[in-house]
Symmetry: C2
Subunit: 421 residues, 2 copies
Amino acid sequence: MSGYVRALAEAAREAQAVIAALDADARTRLVAAMADAVDADRVAILAANAQDLQRARDAGTGGAMLDRLRLDDARLDGVVKALREIAALPDPVGQVTRSEVRADGLRIERVRVPLGLVAMIYEARPNVTADATALCLKSGNAVILRGGSEALASNCAIAASLRRALRECGLPEAALVLIEDPAREHVLELLQLTDLVDLAIPRGGEGLIRFVAEHARVPVIKHYKGVCHLYVDRAADVALATRLLLDGKASRPGVCNALETLLVHAEVAEVFLPGALAALAARGVEVRGDARVRALWPGAQAASEADYAAEFLDLVIAVRVVDSLEDALAHIRRHGSDHTEVIATADAAAAEAFVRGLRSSAVMVNASSRFNDGGELGLGAEIGISTTRLHAYGPMGLESLTIERFVVRGAGHVRHPDLLD
Amino acid sequence: MSGYVRALAEAAREAQAVIAALDADARTRLVAAMADAVDADRVAILAANAQDLQRARDAGTGGAMLDRLRLDDARLDGVVKALREIAALPDPVGQVTRSEVRADGLRIERVRVPLGLVAMIYEARPNVTADATALCLKSGNAVILRGGSEALASNCAIAASLRRALRECGLPEAALVLIEDPAREHVLELLQLTDLVDLAIPRGGEGLIRFVAEHARVPVIKHYKGVCHLYVDRAADVALATRLLLDGKASRPGVCNALETLLVHAEVAEVFLPGALAALAARGVEVRGDARVRALWPGAQAASEADYAAEFLDLVIAVRVVDSLEDALAHIRRHGSDHTEVIATADAAAAEAFVRGLRSSAVMVNASSRFNDGGELGLGAEIGISTTRLHAYGPMGLESLTIERFVVRGAGHVRHPDLLD
């Protein structure tokens, strides 16, 4: 370990104390100033992005990766809009979540405070540089960013704008640290700084997330993948179930809250599957099914066992007929990733059994899996989705970047007054 | 890895689904039955404890360690009473912490669910076997216990009682696993089971906690030590400050919420220190101070730099005179352990600056550090105190053994209705 990252983290921790001590209005102004700065620096940011894109093309990068890397005016509009929305969110810091006064007059409050220093390790999308910084600073934290080397010029340009906003607000620039040196040892050093880094959040492909989880000594909140299920119960409304299926699979197949597996109760398979699978196929979705599925809909390919654990992130779905709700639960427990599961049913008892029977971070009754999203679920914005069953489970908003601590106020209260005689 | 612990953990995970699916009354009855079982099995438990004590004496163990290990009827009364109190606590599982209905009718709830499988790694005190099991099962979790080898017979006897209660309630015994084989490799295996163990909580000396933190791939919540500070502000009431000092240092010096360092504003040092330090000395406390302290109270020894970071857990205190509240904050930030800090002051602005200026899990204004305890702060019982700034910060009660997840109910709600045309 070179100590290079430790020095950056120490500076960030000092700056964090300043950010945390601001009042809510000052943090709102800071994030609004960041929006203004990015808006004003479009030319420089797009020029930097053009360098990254050229380098990526020269290296033979194509398709989806190149698209994730790409910024244009419309996408920068989106970044600026997101920053303004984050600025306008309610500030969680200092919020008193519980307050009680004991019979002896001792007042016990639980108060939200920032986590401290958050490390983000991410790939490709340069907008994360702005989003993550805004969410962390709005909630009184400092942030250390480590983006992918493919987006280095874009990330540096965006970080320069964000730091200008810090400077213009009279605040320490070290509250935002971007590790610019691409050497991997710096990530390893960052992940060992247990005395300085309070939380690491990896965002990107499964490889990146596993790398962070395996090497971190600091706490990590992550999700590996979203293998999301729709279970169509025997008491399902077929039209409603079809809506959920199409929205879940075909509206945006590349995201983690898209459906990957459809489980259908045997009693409705015959009335539901042919129409539903035809509608999927009409939208370009490849269907992989077990023998019972293929008997009802010959357009299906044979599903392998691996298909039932796959996060396709594509226009592909695995389908299975099950004989009971219990079999559906057993399938999901075995193959699921604790992300999002959906039941379509008109039977309240079946819905309740489904909700209670699963550990997943979000369970939807007669609603699309695509609602598992911080914006949709009322968090305003999200810094990630957690399938780590600790601290935060599901979409993580500003509150997830804080922790409740105890503030106790007395008038000389002691536990052993006899000792004072 | 032998796979021995993995098999136990898999069985515990299956049993956990059964415990989680119980209603609150059934979990209350289970923990009450555990109290009855321990109460009924006193003879066997005390006989087992006598074996542990004999073995410890033969090995030359003495003093505090032997005392922590020892059970007698009065201590078993305490264990039974604690179990009954845990049985009577409100059940957090299924609690709806937030509920909102969107304009489009989609209902979004956050609901508390158990963490899953909790691993406790602890030393000496056999009562942890009962307390931890009761807290975990009451909150719908399963538990894997790994106690110290010095208490193995006692822990086995208590676990046998607790399992009898599970059996009598018709519940799977595997919801409580005690790793009886003392080989250390089993702990290492336990700490690697990221797919099965949701949280590990170490309780014991700093060595044990560091071992767990360094080897765990599963999430860990811990506190290394409690270096708790009392800052006597220039606006402090001297008599009130003396009360807090005596209660914090002399009422029970061996616990983590006892005071270790006293910081005194220079403007009150002359009126406060001589009387306060004499009162400490009268209660057998050794005072180690800087030059300004020793000038005011010659009974003090010279404090070393290490004394200001020490968790004495004994009748020893480090004392320093500071020139300002800011100097006190800087001292605490440098030497503190984020556990508990106290200010004595009549100045509301100083109190506020102290609270805001510190990261600690509990900050006390004119109240003793000894109140940082789950029972005192209204949690009913605690499974530990966290200085990990994630998930729980401060005393951890039943709620800290749960996590909020999202349950969403719609009527066929989708994000992209246009896709359905």
